[in-house]
């Protein structure tokens, strides 16, 4: 302890205190303050940049989600539209079919009716012609038959016989 005290130099202590105090002050003002500030700013900057990147990423995700949602909606809409169109088409087609059927039926009926009436007319015509022909034939036959007395007698007889039979 005595040696320590003997070694202690007041002058050196004085200079150390003064010089170190001065050094501390100068470094404080011109070195540590700007250095710590710069480092702090840089760290803050990095933190902000990371935060911004994070936010951007989140936003990006949101955008993706949004676009996906939109896409889904569009797809659904398209599906709905397609479905509607198909239904419409089906409706139209079936309606047309029905109408066609109805029309067809109507036409067929008409045709059938025409055919029937034509047939009837034809049949009537044929009947008239047949009657005419028969009459003519009968006339001719009768003329022929009636040329001969015998034959006339026979005819009357036959006819009378026929009538009886009937």
């Amino acid at each position: 302890m005595e040696k320590l005290l003997e070694e202690f130099s007041l002058g050196l202590f004085f200079w150390q205190t003064i010089l170190f105090g001065l050094l501390l002050f100068l470094l404080w003002k011109f070195a540590w303050k700007p250095i710590l500030k710069a480092v702090n700013d840089r760290e803050e900057g990095i933190k902000n940049a990371l935060d911004a990147a994070d936010a951007a990423k989140k936003e990006m995700q949101n955008v993706t989600a949004d676009s996906e949602k939109l896409l889904k909606e569009a797809r659904a809409e398209r599906d709905a539209l397609l479905k509607e169109a198909r239904e419409l088409k089906d409706g139209i087609v079936s309606e047309a079919k029905e109408q066609a059927k109805v029309e067809g039926d109507k036409m067929i009926k008409q045709a059938q009716a025409t055919i029937e009436s034509e047939k009837k007319a034809a049949v009537a015509d044929i009947k008239a012609q047949v009657a005419n022909l028969s009459l003519e034939i009968a006339e001719k036959v009768i003329k022929e038959e009636l040329s001969d007395k015998k034959k006339q007698q026979k005819l009357v007889d036959d006819m009378l016989g026929d009538i009886k039979l009937n």
Partner: protein, 378 residues
């Protein structure tokens, strides 16, 4: 790879030079005084550990027996009947008496004494000089080194600060090396010990003492033969600063802890007998903490220099093919360890200062009394 090789080469070269310088001085002083080699080395070491009034790099003796000192004198400033300023070359390294304004001064064991014209020094029975010692404010070798280190630090760190401004927050050059250290002190010394809220206030001081001690420790390992941080006046001044910073920034809680260490855990009448012992211990602790700082740094640096120089000195005592290389190897190994110690002591001083600042700025009303207040001191 190449760079590290060169760095190593440089390191080895420096250390060799250091040893060479010491060697030269020792050898010639032996011849000169014809003293016993061991005493000579011992004296040389104890001389080196002290501050000196001139900046001598080495000395040698010419063929004619005249000894020359290589170095430069420094101004001596004495307060003795007014201010006396003169060059230390007047002392001729303690060999002659310096005469200034009719007063005579002599350098004896690195201290200046007032003497008569012949330079007689009277001793008491314990062989201590009884001459009057004038107040000595000389710019000694240590003061020069403090100034050099201060300028170096100013240059280094202001240029680092400027490089931030210039390069948009990115350090350049040597700042790339120092920035991580600054960040380390901030993130691993100041923040955990002082706390997020108050560490900023102490940062400039912590950074300054760390680099100041570290640089001076490293300078102590150069062949210039300086021993600044191993000087009790320096460590005392540093520890005093830590002490003042601690106590002037102390919070109410800190002082409450000093004078009321147990808090409100028991009634006042139960505290009286305990506090008769506890409070003086706490008060003593206030002084012991910085005192341990000053002794630790002083003793470590002093011891390092003594061991290193003793091992170098052994080379000249052995003077054999086995002993000298062996002590050279040892000295080399110790030099490397000293490089580590230089950093370690700076770190410890800074770390403990931060810890004391942490105590001083403690601010815990809520959870504070749960942990043992005595443990908090360890």
């Amino acid at each position: 790879m190449r760079k590290t090789f060169f760095t190593r080469l440089l390191l080895v070269g420096t250390l060799l030079l250091a040893q060479f310088t010491f060697a030269k001085e020792q050898e010639h002083e032996t011849e000169e005084h014809g003293k016993d080699l061991k005493t000579e080395i011992k004296e040389y070491i104890s001389h080196h550990l002290k501050d000196s009034h001139d900046f001598s790099l080495f000395s040698y003796t010419t063929e004619s027996g005249e000894h020359k000192y290589v170095g430069f004198p420094l101004p001596v400033i004495l307060i003795d009947d007014g201010l006396k300023v003169f060059s230390s070359s007047k002392f001729h390294h303690g060999e002659t008496v310096a005469e200034v304004d009719g007063n005579y001064y002599k350098l004896y064991h690195s201290k200046i004494y007032k003497t008569d014209a012949e330079g007689t020094i009277t001793y008491d029975e314990e062989h201590h000089p009884t001459n009057v010692k004038p107040l000595d404010f000389s710019i000694t070798k240590n003061v020069v080194m403090i100034i050099v280190t201060g300028l170096l630090m100013l240059w280094l760190f202001t240029s680092l600060a400027r490089s931030y401004a210039k390069n948009g927050g990115i350090p350049t050059g040597v700042g790339r090396f120092f920035e991580p250290i600054i960040l380390y002190i901030r993130d691993d010394i100041a923040r955990p010990n002082i706390g997020e809220a108050k560490y900023k206030k102490y940062m400039p001081y912590l950074l300054s003492i760390f680099f100041f001690i570290w640089f001076l420790n490293i300078f102590g390992l150069t062949p210039l033969g300086i021993n600044v941080t191993g000087n009790i006046a320096i460590t005392f001044a540093l520890a005093l600063m830590t002490f003042l910073f601690t106590n002037f920034t102390g919070t109410k809680d800190y002082w409450g802890h000093q004078f009321n260490p147990l808090g409100n855990t028991m009634p006042w009448y139960a505290k009286i007998p305990l506090y008769i012992i506890l409070v003086p211990i706490e008060i003593l602790g206030l002084f012991i903490k910085p005192f341990s700082l000053l002794i630790r740094l002083y003793a470590n640096m002093q011891a390092g220099h003594i061991v290193l120089m003793s091992l170098i000195g052994l080379m000249f005592i052995f003077k054999s093919w086995i002993g000298s290389p062996l002590s050279f190897g040892l000295a080399f190994a110790i030099s490397l360890i000293e490089v580590l110690v230089a950093l370690l002591q700076a770190y410890i001083f800074t770390m403990l200062s931060a810890l004391y600042f942490g105590f001083a700025s403690e601010d815990h009303h809520a959870e504070g009394h749960e942990d043992d207040p005595e443990l908090a001191h360890l």
